[in-house]
């Protein structure tokens, strides 16, 4: 019994994706699969669930058995004992209403209509979706859709859950609810997930795959997490902080215990120089919004006032559906039915000519593929050069910063997620735009790719380009934001300058790094506002 993977190798279109993977999952064990973007984590889940080679072609060598069943050859038996949840819940739905969606899987397992009705009520209650039976799926929020996807799988009572980045598209609140479910469920699960902090206590084993598709680590989480030598991208955030503190001799052992880290810092308060992070205040105002209101889909967004400074990054932080993208669309001139005043580069938006507006404003869409129209990356870049006033030297400088040389002859649709995101930003800066509107730049990315994207945006800022970045990711907000605006329901905006501690009271769901800093600040208000792992590491490196 259990999941037995032995010397597994995978080739897709002649390219080796996975090499010699061997691991065993015993009764009651949960496994976390980690690795950099493109290492083959999703491919491993696809092989374990028989999607490769049954639905996606691929050549498999080695052995996979799940309770003695081959997911490739004994498809029906396997499907009856497995539940699979994908990154985007929308991909899983085939019907229009909640109850029909849950009934879909049950009907095919021979459950009678009467039993299906009872089951629907039961799983909806379990997933806190009571009363949602007749709701149209299209009207559900992202978090509700993911809960429905879980309800559909839970209803079939699988023994194993296979989860491929199930929280990648969710905001912190919905993510929290998803992890609460994982804490409650009786099922065993194998998960690909980057939010390691949230799941570390549920995991029995970790499989770490490197960029060549080889298994770099297999074993108990402590073997990987409690060592500062192994890559920082595959550890809980608190371990990285304790590593930074240990390097400076401020903590005795590597730990992910919030209390221990907090106490270690408090004991060494005198060593912290209480260096305040510089506050960025003001600059030249390039755009100003006054009394902005907008009605959309029977909702009224009351954004109010907002100021955009030249050469700064303005982050708008908020949960899914509060109106962040709508605000970007208004500023970009896509939605003109607003009331109030929007002055961009000195003129009212309604009076700005289209060619002037789009020579100065760039928009990086949430899905970078929306922006690609050509056969190769080189053609995409050449097209932008044609529509830009930048000279050859300036363009060459940008190309060097974005490191896309290796992809020039490839299709923009076939490069990695991180490369697609880099290309989409590059296309805008090559266009010589002065203000970039960026929608969820780290959407669905792993930790390493996310950090690289953040670093890239900092380099864009160095060149004097202003940005409005909307996100629900606090790491992004606190790492790059010169001004951080919290957007509440109905679009209400409240802006904070970087380093302003007042922002802590505005955050509903806090990650453990923020909680530690908040705990220390409550005792000593002069403690620096360190809200991301990178800020802690930088502070320890430069000030201790």
């Amino acid at each position: 019994m259990g999941i037995n993977v032995s010397t597994l190798s995978l080739q897709i279109e002649g390219k080796k994706i996975l090499r010699n993977i061997t691991f065993f999952v015993g009764e009651g064990e949960n496994v976390l699969i980690l690795g950099p973007s493109g290492a083959g984590k999703t491919s491993l889940i696809n092989v374990l669930t028989g999607i490769i080679p049954n639905n996606i072609p691929g050549k498999i060598e080695g052995k996979i058995e799940i309770d003695g069943i081959s997911p490739e050859h004994q498809r029906e038996k396997f499907i009856e004992r497995a539940g699979i949840i994908f990154q985007n819940p929308d991909d899983m739905f085939a019907t229009l209403k909640v109850e029909d969606e849950i009934a879909f899987s049950l009907e095919r397992r021979g459950v009678s209509p009467e039993a299906i009705e009872k089951k629907i009520k039961y799983v909806l209650k379990e997933m806190c979706l009571e009363g949602f039976e007749a709701r149209e799926i299209a009207t559900l929020s992202g978090g509700e859709k993911q809960k429905l996807a879980v309800a559909c799988v839970e209803a079939t009572e699988p023994k194993y859950l296979f989860l491929d980045e199930p929280t990648a598209l969710l905001d912190p609140l919905s993510t929290d609810k998803f992890f609460s479910f994982l804490h409650r469920t009786k099922r065993q699960f194998i998960i690909v997930e980057h939010k390691i902090d949230r799941i570390a206590d549920l995991i029995s084993k970790v499989v770490l795959i490197n960029e060549n598709g080889e298994m770099e680590y297999y074993g108990k989480p402590s073997g990987l997490f409690k060592s500062c030598k192994k890559s920082r991208y595959y550890k809980p955030k608190l371990i990285n902080i304790s590593c930074a503190l240990k390097k400076r001799g401020l903590i005795d052992k590597i730990t992910d215990d919030r209390g221990e880290i907090e106490n270690a810092v408090k004991k060494n308060m005198s060593k912290f120089q209480k260096t305040k992070i510089k506050k960025h205040i003001g600059g030249n105002v390039i755009s100003e919004i006054k009394g902005l209101e907008f009605s959309y889909a029977n909702r009224l967004f009351q954004y109010g006032n907002y100021v955009i400074f030249g050469g700064k990054i303005h982050v708008i932080l908020g949960n899914n559906g509060v109106g962040k993208t709508t605000l970007l669309n208004i500023i970009a001139g896509f939605e003109m039915g607003y009331s109030g005043e929007i002055r961009l580069f000195g003129s009212e938006l309604r009076n700005i000519k289209r060619d002037f507006l789009y020579k100065n404003i760039g928009y990086v869409f949430q899905n970078p593929e929306t922006m690609f129209f050509h056969n190769t990356v080189k053609e995409e870049i050449d097209y932008m050069k044609k529509h830009s006033y930048l000279n050859e030297n300036e363009a060459a400088e940008w190309l060097e910063i974005f490191h896309l040389e290796k992809t020039l002859e490839l299709s923009p649709f076939n490069i990695s997620t991180g490369e697609k995101r880099r290309l989409s930003i590059l296309l805008m800066v090559l266009g010589g735009k002065k203000l970039l509107l960026i929608d969820e730049p780290t959407f669905g990315q792993d930790y390493e790719t996310k950090i690289k994207t953040i670093e890239l945006l900092k380099k864009v800022r160095e060149k004097g380009i202003s940005m409005i970045v909307v996100t629900h990711d606090t790491d992004v907000a606190f790492d790059i934001g010169d001004f951080i605006t919290v957007m509440k329901n109905s679009g209400h905006l409240k802006t904070f300058v970087k380093g302003d501690k007042e922002i802590l009271s505005e955050l509903k769901k806090k990650d453990p790094v923020i909680e530690i800093t908040e705990g220390i600040i409550k005792e000593d208000e002069n403690f620096p506002l360190l809200l991301t792992v990178e800020q802690w590491e930088e502070y320890c490196e430069n000030n201790l």
Binding site: A82, A94, L96, D100, E107, R108, P113, A138, G431
Partner: protein, 231 residues
């Protein structure tokens, strides 16, 4: 659906005023019951009046077999053209009302379920249609975003024909990927398992459905008989 097909079928082969007028009244009653939103109803009626007026005027003015000159308002046409125009505009209005009424009164999921259960169309085709229906709004949103991205990329210039052709690339890529992902997800959820113990939504014909079909057929026969009798 079969009843509507039958009514439309009879409309297409019948030039009788009485018959066309009766069906128009019947289809308008149908639409008045099914479209609850007054604004939508008024917009629909205006659109239908404009469309049917165009049909009437075109026939009145340009019916080639028309021989008897007639002046109607400021237009100079023929009597034969006028007769033909009246019937055709009533026919077009009835077909529009019946079709829109059907769209407003039918749940697409139940319709596909009915096809699967009663007409035994393959489930794969049925669910593919449903997924396509679900994706219409997403597809529209994607096209809007792609168009916006093109405007931003070309610096606010007009989108050329060549650029419009190029926009097909991302649209096509998104649709194909979405289709692939949905097909995989449905299979992993048990699409191919064959242990069915009954349908959660039973779509077999109920007594009320049978009564509805009988009344509709009787009504059609009565209209046919009366219209022929009166002419």
């Amino acid at each position: 659906m079969a009843v509507i097909f039958l009514y439309v079928g009879f409309l297409l082969f019948n030039m009788n005023y009485g018959f066309n007028l009766s069906i128009l009244i019947l289809s308008f009653s149908f639409i008045a019951i099914t479209v609850r939103n007054l604004k939508s109803l008024v917009s629909l009626i205006i659109a239908v009046i404009l469309f049917s007026s165009t049909i009437f005027i075109m026939n009145f003015l340009y019916y080639t077999k028309g021989q008897t000159p007639v002046n109607f308002l400021f237009l100079h046409g023929t009597y034969e053209g006028m007769k033909r125009g009246v019937v055709l505009s009533m026919r077009a209005s009835s077909i529009i009302f019946l079709s829109v009424g059907y769209l407003f009164s039918t749940d697409p999921f139940l319709m596909i379920q009915s096809f699967i259960q009663n007409l035994h169309i393959p489930e794969k085709i049925g669910y593919a249609l449903l997924i396509a229906f679900r994706e219409i709004h997403l597809f529209k949103k994607n096209i809007t975003n792609i168009e916006r991205a093109m405007i931003i990329r070309n610096g606010g210039g007009k989108i050329t024909l060549n650029e419009r052709i190029k926009m097909i690339v991302p649209v096509f890529a998104m649709v194909v990927r979405k289709g692939e992902r949905s097909a995989i997800a449905l299979e992993t959820r048990g699409m191919l398992l064959e242990k069915r113990g009954g349908y959660y939504r039973d779509m077999s014909l109920r007594s009320i459905d049978k009564i509805f079909v009988i009344i509709s057929l009787l009504l059609l026969l009565v209209i046919l008989f009366m219209s022929n009798l009166l002419m």
